[in-house]
Point group: C2
Chain length 416, copies 2
């Protein structure tokens, strides 16, 4: 029967358009910051679609949103989903595809009156991107640990707006969705996402089955010197925080990625203060995003970054402070989840291949408390976090069908 | 008689405190952006002090403010003054000292009923710092050319507020001061300012007589690459605008100042977009402030900066665009102004020395239309453009007395 069961592709594509309009950018992308008014608008739209189908909608104190379709048994649910927040100039698929495909699965089960043993829940995790409030993946991290870390209470966005205030506002904006406790046993977690890399497109494979996720660390590096006049201060008298930072960054770029093809190093955010054209910078803050699939190599890379910071600032008169603001170890998904997904792909006649995720995802954290897995679909030129992020409609539909049949397969296994 | 004529030091020091309170920062500095509400508040306070003494107050369309004390003859005035805007985290003396000392000179002449042949005017030049709207020294530039360059109409601050709008608001905030045409013949211009360098303090000399100002160029360098995901994009696929900018900046720091002790190169403002921790930067804009006392050397340095930009971005996949946003040639002040100032210092018994200004000042532009000169006073450790900028009261008073007697000396010469 499962091979004749398919999702409604037109409905899914229409929904993607509908949600892409919330925070649409001129170049066809999306700017929907976590917990912003636009994020709240997207959550409301999804909730209204859920209420129209009679699904139960709940949220927790981290503003994670849950849409539940009951199963035959009163057992922990199988959870599918992703996130609705975006990068500042992000694409329309990163996150939203996983949420809307999961909701499409729920509607398809309802349309076709498929009774699952296990309840199925769609989840929208809060602030996966981490671009408004650091760190990223706050929703799935809090869910997995069962608590909101106290230090997040102090988190503020670049305009000084606090996370706490925005969480309260976001939960309050959806009074129809009752609060549930943060964290609960779940049977498993599966997330559909764009690959954000070039492999599937190059090999013309419509779906990827993810075996694990590389580890990520974010280091905030603060270099402080002394402000002084650009015209009158000779070289010997300067304590130039940007000159010192430049020496540090140059060695990062020269020595980290070129020497290990599995290493990733990016500096995506940097600020200079006071920021006046004719004043020598007193302070520079920048963030290093460091990744590797092997945790020991990641330790080595972090040690190297720290050594370079100290070595390159030693003779500049500047001080350097390094703070680790995110540390996510690499994860391997369980064989069972990978095998159920491969079995579903075979049933659907979809060519598939295994791969490691270069990006981190909410699944990385959920994997700490339940069997987790991911399905990838190819995106054009492997590009994401940009306005021209694009997924072919055929891949969108193939990925959603694989999500449907993997969910059914996993829920059936639970019966047995 | 002139050696017995002294300014009122207590009054001047009190005025400096009074104006430092307008935009005071927690660390004892001043943040009074050009044409802001705080700048308008300072202009209003000065105008009210002027009206109380019966002086005439006028302004022009560039919001330059003039306070006039009539002379015996109906001839072009001798002008003294400086600016009231500050750096974002600037000091309380840079600019304000020159304006308040000039006003103190006017009050002293009035207190002692000194009749000058030439009228004496105090001027407050608009937006000298250039930190809110580029370029700097807008007021004196427009005065000297007799017109506001059309391209300034498009200037906006970092919040998108237009220069045009703020000029109109600032002029309108002082309806008691009638408009006069922009630019007019003047007999001469003299500006008291802090040295912003270490020479006078190190040599324990209370006043410096400035013989000229080094040239300054501002180059805006825009590097554009391509945004992509930090975790999934391998080195070969990156067009990282910050990595390319880092290579450029490293060579600036290594090759410009270390090879010429009279060269100055500063990068004080830099922005990265989209500015997300896990997105490879698509664009970096930064400003190079380049200075030298010799204009041919300055040409060489600019050519070198341009060569480095092209050479270092060539193989990165990034594009670079260089725009010259400020170009001020070095200037030498006329011998006559220097000699009159030296004669006044001798009369006052003040040790003085000649020096070249490392910073640019409004006097640089006024020098294009009239004999101009400057007097420097030492500031602690040569530091300025920062909260702990400091001038000793004795130096403040000495500098103001020298301004008074140079003005009198110059106005007398005009009689002869």
């Amino acid at each position: 029967m499962s091979t004749t069961l398919h999702i409604d592709g037109d409905r899914l594509l229409k929904r993607l358009d509908q949600f892409a309009a919330i925070g649409a950018t001129p170049g066809g992308g999306v700017n929907r910051p976590a917990l912003s008014a636009l994020d709240q608008q997207a959550r409301r739209l999804l909730s209204e679609l859920a209420f129209a189908r009679g699904f139960r909608v709940e949220q927790d104190q981290m503003a994670n949103l849950y849409i539940r379709r009951e199963g035959a048994a009163n057992v922990p649910p199988f959870v599918i989903g992703s996130h609705l927040d975006s990068q500042p100039m992000g694409g329309r698929f990163d996150g939203a595809l996983g949420v809307l495909a999961a909701f499409e699965v729920l509607e398809t089960l309802e349309d076709r009156s498929v009774e699952t043993h296990t309840p199925v829940e769609v989840v929208v995790w809060t602030n996966e991107e981490g671009s408004r409030f650091a760190p990223g993946a706050m929703g799935s991290r809090a869910f997995s640990s069962g608590a909101i870390p106290p230090e997040w209470k102090e988190a503020k966005d670049q305009d000084g707006v606090g996370l706490d205030q925005e969480l309260t506002a976001t939960v309050a904006a959806l009074p129809e969705a009752p609060l549930r406790p943060l964290g609960a046993p779940i049977a498993g977690y599966l997330e559909l996402h764009i690959e954000q890399g070039p492999v599937l497109e190059e090999e013309e494979i419509p779906v990827g089955i993810v075996t694990g996720i590389q580890g990520t660390r974010w280091l905030k590096i603060s270099v402080s010197g002394e402000a002084a006049h650009a015209g009158t201060t000779g070289l010997a008298f300067r304590k130039d925080a940007l000159a010192a930072s430049t020496s540090v960054m140059k060695r990062f770029y020269d020595e980290i990625m070129p020497k290990d093809q599995n290493a990733r190093l990016t500096i995506g955010r940097l600020s200079v203060s006071p920021g006046s054209i004719n004043t020598i910078p007193a302070a520079v803050d920048f963030y290093v995003d460091l990744r590797h699939r092997n945790n020991e190599r990641l330790n080595d890379l972090e040690a190297r970054v720290r050594d370079i910071c100290l070595a390159e600032t030693r003779s500049t008169g500047c001080q350097v402070v390094i703070e680790k603001v995110l540390d996510m170890a690499p994860v391997a998904f369980p064989d069972k989840m990978i095998e159920v997904t491969e079995e579903a792909a075979r049933k659907l006649g979809l060519p598939a291949r295994r791969l490691v995720s270069g990006a981190f995802h909410d699944a990385l954290f959920v994997a700490g408390v339940a069997p987790a897995g991911m399905i990838f679909v190819p995106c054009r030129k492997g590009r994401s976090h940009c306005e021209d992020e694009h997924v072919e409609p055929s891949a969108t539909i193939a990925g959603c069908n694989l999500l449907l049949h993997t969910a059914i397969g996993y829920c059936k296994l639970n019966v047995g």
